[in-house]
Symmetry: C2
């Protein structure tokens, strides 16, 4: 089903609105926590509802290996499996083509299982089929995402392969039974090469998807290169469909992408940072492992009295972190997700109230 | 301060009532979750309040090493440190004399730190001092707890050393400033030797403590030997002071100890079992790792619709467990503690309603 974007208010090219799928609508800009294997680490679906997340991600590669797409389907799809009633999105395994470096040929990617070493082939068609079984509201096409910097030849090959795979994936999706309940997003590649970015966007739009993602950024390039490559794409994407920047979760990156008209974000960074003791706070990043916090009776972020971590002191949470008590990872994960979700809410409100540029300047002052 | 026991109702030698300390009262029989290093693994003080735990344990050995007793004291004692307003109890490090096998001489025990290998001496006096800084409502004397079976000579030596240490610990406690706010419990040793048990109880009572614990049981002996050694002690302990069985957490063990007049219990077993996927349910233990649960959409325990884990299916929680997602350990820990705390509530209610023998028979039928 074609996912639509409804504009509530724009401020420059930043836009506040809602994305609508077969399941319903969620407000944008929107940050989507990542639940790779069917759970955001240390959290339950109840926790995510309390945090007021609207969309949660699952990962095709991991879930097809454990517990297997058929098992998830049998247990009600990802929604029934995880008991989550809001939106879900599954990435295609494309990110694992970047991170696990499998053998890639014209047909697809051949992975080794991180669980038992067995071999698995993921093709554009099988990625559609697996994601149909997982049953998220939004599925992503399988793409090729090179790390940056990369030679033009590598970027060109990624664009060509991704375009070929996108066409096959779209065909498989439309031939399947799930297209009335699911939306399928295409992914634009092209690295930091503006001409390739525009070409990739045009080829993806020509195939025609239910929404559009920008992939292959935030993988090693500078902020300027990222914004420039992004802007070239968002300038030509349809305005009435959602735009999703894959794998971006830092406050400056989000605010700059929103300034370029992006609606949706995901990133493991806030949860991974939390597990290692790095916190997002109203005055910037805070490394709780620092010795100076041993005797601190202050909360993590005195500027965030509503944080789910506000009950406990820096000294206590630091202690739990240092002795590797899992309670620390949980509380700090709750904090970072709460902080980032509220950050995006505030960002959205600044667009609605036509003070986005002020908000953007404040973010740069603290995080730049 | 002398901790008092107030009887509400007895049924045979099983007793329902309340233990009162300087902090207030808690209902008994009572199961106390173990928060070794200042947190029950995967849980916060908020979780424990939701579970309606009344007393939480901390561990002297671990807390004196990390973050150190002075740090805990500086951050408000264990109550302020963990933000827990109900009762706390600290064990003395005596359990680590059993589990870590340090060098023990007449003066005390010389441990190696599990954190950095450094050497630390714990004496009856220093255990009192450290526990005064930790500031729990109840502190325990340092004792020598041999594993069972053990030769009489070893048991005799443990009784003598424990009695000597108890006298020194009581002296140190009464000479300190915290005795108005804290209660100090003595510990009866003697293994399964009834004469030694009675001698140890008499020597401990002669010194005079604010409450009495039975230690050195549930460490390898049979259920019959355990009950017999316990009964010899509880028969002569004062009836107006609390009785605490250290390190017991299985349903049959608890019901048998309550039948012998015990009021308080602690054990890491329910939380440790949970982390490994073994659950306490209304129909007995359930090993969630079993393959038969892969496709089960039933809750963990259909007989426990109010469990904090009831939202999710066996198939989902099993998957999280198999891929080591920490969410599984958290949800299963919540379930096991919820189950055991409710079990002890039900047990208490059976005493109040004079149907303890019926309850006891039911427990044996399911768990025996």
């Amino acid at each position: 089903m074609r996912a639509s974007f409804t504009l509530e208010k724009s401020d420059g090219t930043a836009r506040a609105g809602a994305v609508t799928t077969a399941r319903g609508s969620f407000p944008t800009p929107c940050f989507m926590p990542v639940g790779t294997r069917g759970a955001v680490r240390h959290l339950t679906s109840d926790d995510l509802e309390t945090l007021n997340a609207h969309v949660v991600l699952g990962n095709t590669y991991h879930l097809m290996l454990r517990p297997g797409a058929d098992t998830v389907a049998e247990l009600g799809g990802l929604h029934g499996f995880t008991r989550w009633n809001r939106h879900m999105l599954t990435d295609s395994g494309g990110y694992q083509i970047f991170s696990l470096e499998p053998k890639v040929d014209a047909e697809g990617a051949t992975f080794r299982s991180v669980y038992d070493g067995s071999t698995h082939k993921l093709t554009p068609e099988s990625a559609v089929e697996v994601q149909a079984k997982l049953g998220a509201d939004i599925q992503m096409v399988l793409d090729v995402c090179p790390g940056l910097p990369a030679p033009t030849k590598v970027l060109r090959h990624a664009v060509d392969t991704s375009a070929d795979w996108a066409e096959r994936a779209r065909g498989a999706f439309l031939a399947g039974a799930s297209f009335e309940m699911q939306s399928q997003f295409g992914i634009v590649q092209g690295g930091t090469d503006l001409a390739l970015r525009i070409e990739s966007a045009e080829r993806t739009m020509e195939i025609g998807f239910d929404g559009y993602a920008v992939g292959g950024l935030s993988v090693g390039e500078s902020q300027e290169e990222m914004v420039s490559a992004l802007g070239a794409v968002t300038a030509i994407l349809p305005t009435d469909q959602p735009r999703y920047f894959m794998g971006l979760g830092d406050p400056v990156g989000i605010v700059e992408a929103v300034a370029n008209g992006v609606d949706m974000f995901d990133c493991v960074l806030p949860t991974r940072l939390a597990r290692h003791g790095t916190l997002l706070t109203s005055s910037g990043k805070l490394n709780l492992r620092r010795a100076e916090f041993q005797l601190s009776d202050e909360p993590i972020d005195p500027g965030s009295p509503d944080s789910p971590a506000a009950t406990w002191s820096r000294g206590y949470l630091r202690h739990l972190l240092m002795v590797k008590e899992p309670t620390a990872a949980r509380v700090l994960t709750l904090h970072n997700l709460w902080w980032l979700l509220r950050f995006v809410d505030d960002l959205r409100q600044s667009i609605v109230e036509s003070r986005f540029e002020e908000f953007r300047a404040d973010v740069h002052a603290v995080w730049g």
